[in-house]
Symmetry: C2
Subunit: 127 residues, 2 copies
DNA sequence: CAGCATCCCAACAGATACTG
DNA sequence: CAGTATCTGTTGGGATGCTG
């Protein structure tokens, strides 16, 4: 383990350059709703309405644009069934699952430590 | 490995609840500039001016507020030396290093795959 | 050098209404 | 059910100027 940042620099160059591919993709997947939608889909395939209920607080507009973005990036696949009433399912692609393999440990750590972190905020006298 | 989301749910409850601690902390560390500042400090201690140059494109305002936030969360420590001219150094705390241990594999993967991801965007006909 | 204060704007995000 | 359209507003964030 102990991946160094220097190694990332060597491997793929600019992480700190404006507009570099890495920054763009990071912005997509680390966005407020991007993470939560990806997390929701980690459990398995979900329909639009299920996603909406699962990711509490997301608006239809944000769910739509987040899904379009993740779909365009190849992390999520959308399948529409020609039925009445309409049924549409969303699931992670292989690339999406690869991504989530790396993101889950991070989210897990945050979930386990978020309480202490915010306690630190209070001590520091911040909101 | 293969951490499941269900496990996270069991462990620490709500990831999908509005305003829950996990979401708040995720928003701090997954923010556009939060990630990049944390990454920069993963290499080692940096001064204000070095950070500003390192994280290309960040404004003084954003650097300041990002650092205050990460400091309040206990991820970054600020050390001010009473000299003339002033010297201030920023470095990761133990908690910050724990966090980055989980975040680096993710960033590394993104850096390695960002090219392909954006190529997918082009094929899909999106910006 | 390290930063805070101020002004300002565009983009992101919420609410509502409507449609195939 | 699964969206799109539109309208509005909040705020993230940039530019500038000033201070210890």
């Amino acid at each position: 383990m102990t991946v160094s940042l220097a190694e990332i620099r060597r491997t793929s160059g600019e992480v700190f350059t404006e507009g570099c591919p890495t920054r763009v993709v990071l912005d997509h997947i680390m966005s407020k709703w991007g993470v939560l939608v990806l997390l929701a889909l980690t459990d398995g395939t979900l329909r639009w309405g299920e996603l909406r209920r699962e990711v509490e607080g997301i608006s239809e507009k944000m769910l739509a644009s987040t899904l379009r973005q993740l779909e365009a990036d190849g992390f999520v696949e959308r399948t529409s069934y020609p039925e009445v009433p309409p049924r549409v399912e969303y699931e992670l692609t292989d690339r999406g699952r690869e991504l989530m393999e790396r993101m889950l440990p991070l989210v897990e750590w945050v979930a386990a430590n978020a309480g202490d972190v915010l306690k630190a905020d209070l001590i520091a006298g911040r909101g």
